[in-house]
């Protein structure tokens, strides 16, 4: 059960990353820091300013939306016509900037963020699960169902999808491509904040946690086949469950070594993941 819930968080964290990748082909290695910042902002608002948790959540969402907008203007837009490696290195630069800002603002010690539903347990049909884990399942389901409706049913969602599929064609159809790309970054950062709020009560928040998040999210994406949303969810759940099983039955010291080995094995054996990324390349 705890494997499934942590897997859901990996999938949520990966979703924001994937959104940007699918829309503009940019790989944002600072996404782990965005998730961490979402959690830290909530911590700062609720513990530091004494705001109620829901207010801290809204504040964090708003701040992260703004951060996403800023991020796209600074670390993506000026480099949109350069090789992908340029954007990747810039995002690594952003990740150092954000991680060390967190270190300067909140220090290296782990801090804890409360859950919306407290620490209690729920008994249902003979199984006992912590209430926070139940919340994670509900939110994850809501986000993934919500996104599929958003992208297929609403006008703005369709415009976003058109931009992701073919920027030139979308521009000819009257879609404001620049704005859609900025909006994608905003959505990605908002999703990061949600993931941060779900993750923080489960783990402690510390600046180094961002690296773990991005790596796990990335592995989930790779397992699912780069680009596929259902694949991502399956990949996240698979990774979460495997980790918990390995940690409890075999070794906890080498848990993270194992997730990297999974990554390497998947890349060697199934370079397109279990669900397959459509690879098309033009000379």
């Amino acid at each position: 059960m705890s494997g499934l819930s942590i897997g859901c968080v990996y999938a949520l964290a990966g979703f924001g990353f994937l959104l940007v990748y699918n829309a503009v082909g940019a790989v944002n290695f600072a996404h782990g820091e965005l998730v961490m910042f979402g959690g830290y902002l909530g911590y700062a608002a609720s513990r530091g300013m004494g705001a109620p948790l829901w207010a801290a959540f809204l504040l964090s969402l708003a701040a992260m939306a703004l951060a996403g907008l800023l991020y796209s203007q600074v670390a993506y837009y000026p480099m949109r016509n350069r090789p992908a490696a340029t954007v990747i290195i810039a995002s690594i630069g952003m990740s150092i900037l954000l991680r060390n800002s967190a270190l300067a603002l909140w220090g290296p010690d782990p801090v804890k963020l409360d859950s919306f539903v407290g620490d209690g347990l729920v008994r249902a049909a003979g199984v006992v699960i912590p209430r926070h884990q139940l919340l994670i399942f509900v939110v994850t389901a809501a986000v993934f169902i919500g996104q599929s409706l958003f992208f297929s049913r609403t006008a703005i969602g369709r415009r976003l999808q058109a931009t992701a599929q073919d920027q030139e064609a979308a521009r000819l159809m009257g879609v404001r491509v620049g704005r859609m790309i900025a909006l994608t970054f905003v959505l990605s950062a908002v999703l990061a904040a949600i993931a941060g709020f779900l993750l923080a009560p489960l783990w402690f928040l510390e600046p180094e946690v961002s690296l773990v998040i991005i790596v796990k999210a990335f592995i989930a994406i790779v397992i699912g086949g780069f680009g596929s949303v259902p694949g991502l969810v399956a990949g996240g759940l698979f990774l979460g469950v495997t980790e918990v099983l390995v940690a409890s039955h075999i070794t906890s010291q080498y848990k993270d070594v194992l997730s990297f080995l999974i990554l390497l094995t998947v890349l060697m054996a199934f370079p397109r993941g279990f669900f397959g990324e459509k690879i098309e390349e033009k000379v």
């Binding site: 790989v27 090789p83 270190l103 300067a104 080498y254 993270d256 000379v283």
Partner: protein, 325 residues
């Protein structure tokens, strides 16, 4: 004509650089502090040449150079202290072990594209670090290995910072020569073809697997050797040195200097090592500026200091400079 003139100029410039490097310790040899900074810059230069191969010739981004560096450091130290193999054989063996690791990650690298390799390399670096951290019987975990002897080659002992400088200089020159001869070989040209258009290069008969594996083995060897030099210079090694931060430092040095160029790694490594020393008073804010600096470099000077210099020189009317990549 201009090619010949360009070559002559480059040879003079290279000779001038080596001469300057030879007399540098005589100028600032009095200061133990600056000798230390120079030696560290030398070790980082070799590491940066290693990433320069991967990024400059294959276009791949590695944030796992610390893994090669650590392998070289631990294996050469183990062979030298445990089995008394002698300094140079141990150093070479450490480099070879790192080269073998390079071959290992060359296989997934050949099958998947750019952004995957970032994570493959990160994963590799972290696996090495975690194993060093947890395999306490061999590596002593967080305590590390202390009392590593100074390099001894035949009758010579490189115990002082002054003498060590010349040892490192030899290896830096070897790294430069290796990069230069790769650039002029069939393999170097094949790698650059893969970098600019992989599919087109494959159609022309360039084998991506062979070339990527050779490249990563060479890069692994350079970084592993740098690791062995580092261990014998500092005298102790422990896992926290070989973190992602080190790999990111190396990446920054590569892109700031000018990736894929011959002079870029030296310029980038020396510049950033000095910058870190001068800005030491900023403490944790240094790393924030560092991150911002990387983003700014990517926006305003994607080809690094060398690219900037080239552009400035081209405006001054020296077009042949460009042919000397």
């Amino acid at each position: 004509m201009s090619m010949v003139a360009g070559k002559g100029k480059a040879a003079w410039a290279a000779a001038g650089c080596v001469a300057a490097a030879l007399v540098l310790p005589l100028v600032c040899g009095e200061s133990r502090y600056y000798m230390n900074v120079l030696n560290l810059a030398g070790i980082f230069t070799i590491l940066t040449y290693s990433l320069n191969l991967i990024h400059g010739y294959l276009g791949l981004i590695s944030i796992g150079q610390a893994g090669f560096f650590a392998l070289g450091a631990y294996i050469s130290t183990g062979l030298n202290m445990g089995l008394h193999l002698g300094y140079i054989p141990s150093l070479v063996a450490g480099g070879m072990a790192a080269a073998a690791a390079g071959v290992l990650i060359g296989f997934p690298a050949a099958r998947v594209g750019g952004h995957y390799f970032v994570l493959v390399s990160l994963g590799f670096g972290e696996i090495v670090r975690l194993i060093i951290l947890n395999w306490k019987q061999v590596t002593h975990g967080t305590n590390g290995i202390n009392g590593i002897p100074s390099p001894t080659i035949g009758p010579w002992v490189f115990a002082s910072r002054f003498s060590f400088y010349y040892l490192i200089l030899c290896f830096v020159v070897l790294a430069v020569l290796a990069t230069r001869s790769l650039r002029r070989s069939k393999y170097g040209r094949s790698m650059l073809a893969l970098k600019s258009a992989e599919l087109a290069a494959c159609v022309m008969g360039v084998n991506p697997l062979t070339n990527k594996v050779i490249n990563l083995a060479m890069a692994g060897f350079l970084a592993g050797t740098a690791g062995g030099l580092y261990a014998s210079y500092i005298g102790s090694i422990s896992p926290e040195v070989f973190s992602v931060d080190l790999s990111v430092d190396v990446l920054t040095m590569t892109v700031v200097g000018g990736s894929g160029t011959l002079a870029g790694p030296i310029i980038g490594a020396v510049f950033l090592v000095l910058l870190k020393e001068w800005l030491r008073f900023l403490r944790e804010f240094y790393m924030i500026l560092y991150g911002a600096g990387i983003v700014l470099v990517m926006i305003f000077m994607p080809y690094g200091i060398v690219g900037l210099a080239r552009r400035a020189l081209n405006r001054g009317g020296i077009p042949s400079f460009k042919s000397q990549i």
